[in-house]
């Protein structure tokens, strides 16, 4: 039987219905669908897909196990290099990573590697009662700052080597962007807490409510007996646009909006979190963050939801799938447009955004065509809420309280090489704190490399 040119479809909630609830959009493959999709894999000897994965998941092998019906073994293979498969299977930009290299993609669609990865991980979660167990301690203590994907991966890899790892998290729940940023309908939070439980089962201590730089400084961590510190504090500082009216009531950062929705669960009446509920909302930006904010707004009951993006659909950095979902659910895209001023009513509440139309000029430093405002093209958008999702950068708290830690002009921690070693002895860093806002899998890759480097560092110190 010749396998189809197209990926096996993954069932999804109907767009109308899902735009009103926070349940997961896609429900995942059934075993039959997984078998059908796995059959499309050609098991290429040269394994081009593996090279496209930042953590080198052994793709042909795990897919072969799914074909053979041993899903648990498939999971084990993935887990060998990727500690958060149920997360990556859902949120990795597969189209530009593993799947972009798949030979099936030359003619037709690539193998649905992400979907199969998700299937194997979900299968394991619902079928296996096997729990992680702690490795005997080697007596060395390591501190991890931040519980996002980079910190969790670093902690997990070190725990496997017998290190006593403590993860310090500023917020009340561990998970980083996976819990406060990415919405429930894309990444159910029980999946994240399950992954964190794996870590604590391995003997990792997770301390929430600890802000490094305030509650404890990096120097004090060393005084307290930690031999190395990994900084995976992310890029959580919101960028504002610095245009008139930005401090009006009703204008907020994507971080604030998404934190209220995801971390504080304002959509769930059991929680006391208030949330801005209104009629018209504009989300400024074109990345995953903007899509998540816009789609959350629909689910909160906003009647009109706009995305304002200053370039065109082609330059949009969000994943293609996210844009498709947003369109299907009813988000209205105003492309080549940017707000220049927010206008308030007599009580200081946002009532409109004055926007300007753009056209694309010459490519800029990023290689994308630079948007240029078209004179006289101003128009008004009636909205009562605006969400600014134009980017984030690393929070200055740690660099301001850690002597000798070099950072660059953008506030990112400078590392000497892939190992994540910083200018401070014993301090390693990775993830968005080093790269600026990037992806889950890259943050995990950095956490993994740093764990190896920390292991080497502590071992070589022990020999001195």
């Amino acid at each position: 039987m010749a396998a189809g040119m197209k990926k096996t479809e993954m069932p999804e909630q109907d767009a109308k219905k899902r735009s009103k609830n926070f349940s997961e959009v896609a429900s995942g493959y059934t075993p039959e669908m997984a078998a059908e999709e796995a059959a499309r894999c050609l098991n290429c000897k040269t394994r081009p897909c593996v090279a496209g994965c930042p953590v080198n998941v052994n793709i042909p092998d795990f897919i072969r196990q799914i074909k053979a019906g041993d899903v648990e073994e498939a999971y084990r293979i993935i887990r060998g290099t990727n500690s958060l498969p149920s997360v990556c299977g859902r949120v990795c930009p597969q189209e530009s990573q593993c799947e972009s290299k798949c030979v099936r993609g030359v003619k037709g669609e690539p193998v649905g590697i992400g979907r199969l990865e998700r299937f194997a991980a979900d299968w394991h979660m619902s079928h296996s009662s096997e729990r992680e167990t702690p490795v005997p301690s080697n007596g060395h203590k390591v501190a991890v700052v931040g519980s996002g994907p980079s910190g969790l991966t670093c902690a997990g890899d070190l725990a496997k080597l017998g290190y006593q790892v403590t993860v310090f998290e500023a917020l009340h729940k561990p998970g980083g962007v996976l819990v406060y940023g990415i919405p429930e309908f894309r990444l159910p939070k029980n999946i994240v807490s399950e992954e964190i439980k794996n870590l604590t089962d391995m003997g990792v201590t997770v301390l929430t409510d600890v802000v490094i730089g305030r509650t404890v400084s990096v120097d004090e961590l060393f005084e307290d007996g930690f031999e190395a510190v990994f900084i995976g504090s992310g890029a959580g500082l919101p960028t504002f646009m610095h245009i008139p009216g930005e401090n009006l009531n009703g204008v907020l950062s994507a971080n604030e909006f998404l934190t209220r929705v995801n971390l504080m669960k304002s959509y769930d009446p059991k929680y006391k979190t208030p949330v801005l509920a209104g009629k018209g909302i504009a989300v400024v930006g074109g990345g995953n963050v903007a899509m998540d904010a816009a789609r959350s707004a629909l689910r909160l009951g906003f009647e009109t939801v706009y995305i304002l993006y200053r370039r065109s659909m082609e330059e949009m950095p969000a994943r293609h799938e996210e844009v498709e979902h947003a369109l299907a659910e009813g988000v209205q895209f105003r492309l080549l447009a940017e707000p220049v001023r927010f206008i308030g009513d007599e009580n200081g509440w946002l009532k409109a955004a004055e926007c300007i139309q753009m056209e694309l000029g010459e490519p800029d430093a990023s290689g994308r065509r630079r948007p240029v405002p078209k004179e006289g093209s101003e128009f008004l958008l009636d909205i009562d809420t605006a969400v600014i999702a134009v980017g984030t950068s690393p929070n200055p708290l740690i660099r301001n309280t850690t002597k000798g830690l070099d950072t660059n002009r953008k506030g990112c921690i400078v590392v000497s090489d892939e190992s994540g070693a910083t200018s401070r002895e014993g301090v390693f860093a990775g993830g968005d704190a080093v790269s600026g806002a990037a992806t889950v899998i890259l943050a995990m890759g950095a956490g993994k490399k740093a764990a190896e480097a920390i292991h080497q560092y502590i071992q070589s110190r022990g020999k001195k």
Partner: protein
């Protein structure tokens, strides 16, 4: 979990609690604050560190019952515990080098002003404390202030303690009498801090105010706490909460404080309904 080791009702709407939080107590300084959450479903609310005991590992908070969370908190007793208590957040006050200071507190703001007066006193400064309340029933921390103040003035809006007037009246009198202050520290409702800042502006006296915008994370992540200070956007949780009163855009801050006003009222109504049902 963070245990409540002591609870004292200071007046019908202000409660003091001492909370076991050794990591916070180890680092806390006057001017800083904490964020707490009572239970899994609760909001994160910021409260100032009113006092701390590094040895016992406790932090004191003093809060006014204004809405759902503070009312729910006031219903807890010694031995109960909070799920979250994170801090110390914000920048500590810079009190070193000050010789002569007026500390002005309004209402529950006195609780925030008290640790500052105490530290200034310990640093050997001359500290005039001016505390204002709406009426006699609401007066708090009188004895504590008396111990650390060089001169202590307590006023009530209605004169029920025999001393009618606003804190600004007392401050104006003292300045005009010639009290040459290095600094005025004003903590209380926004309108009061604005009034004090306007009063001191023509005299060129450095005036420090403690801002209390709506916050979520308290670490610079959400930007919800932003204020305009000297024409620039600042995040109160990491750049403050103390700022130069002559630079703060108070009108904007007052407006931003009302973002959730209608939902807060609704939430409080629901909370009280639930309480009523519990009683029946």
């Amino acid at each position: 979990m963070y245990r409540i080791v002591k609870k004292r009702v200071l007046n019908p709407s202000v409660v003091l609690m001492e909370i076991e939080a050794p990591m916070v107590a180890r680092k806390a300084e006057p001017g800083q604050f904490i964020i707490l959450r009572i239970d899994e479903f609760g909001e994160r609310i910021p409260l100032t560190v009113a006092d701390f005991d590094r040895e016992k590992g406790t932090v004191t908070i003093i809060f006014q019952l204004v809405g759902t969370t503070t009312k729910q908190l006031s219903a807890l007793e010694e031995g109960d515990a909070l799920v979250d208590f994170v801090g110390p957040l914000g920048v500590a006050s810079h009190l070193e080098g000050l010789k002569k200071v007026a500390v002005v507190g309004g209402g529950v703001g006195c609780a925030i002003a008290y640790p500052q007066a105490k530290k200034l006193h310990a640093l050997g400064a001359q500290v005039d404390v001016i505390a204002g309340f709406r009426n006699r029933e609401l007066i708090i921390l009188e004895e504590e202030f008396a111990k650390v103040a060089t001169r202590f003035f307590c006023t009530t809006d209605d004169g029920s303690n025999g001393n009618k007037g606003f804190v600004t009246d007392v401050l104006r009198g003292l300045i005009e009498e010639g009290a040459a202050y290095d600094a005025v520290i004003a903590i209380g409702p926004l309108v009061m801090m604005r009034a004090v800042s306007e009063l001191t502006r023509p005299y060129g006296i450095r005036t420090v105010v403690s801002m209390n915008p709506i916050m979520i994370d308290g670490t610079g992540m959400c930007g919800g706490c932003r204020l305009t200070v000297g024409g620039e956007t600042k995040f109160a949780c990491v750049d403050g909460p103390e700022f130069d009163g002559h630079q703060v855009d108070f009108d904007e801050a007052i407006r931003r404080g009302r973002v959730f006003a209608s939902q807060e009222k609704e939430s409080l109504r629901e909370h009280e309904c639930r309480l009523m049902k519990g009683v029946q």
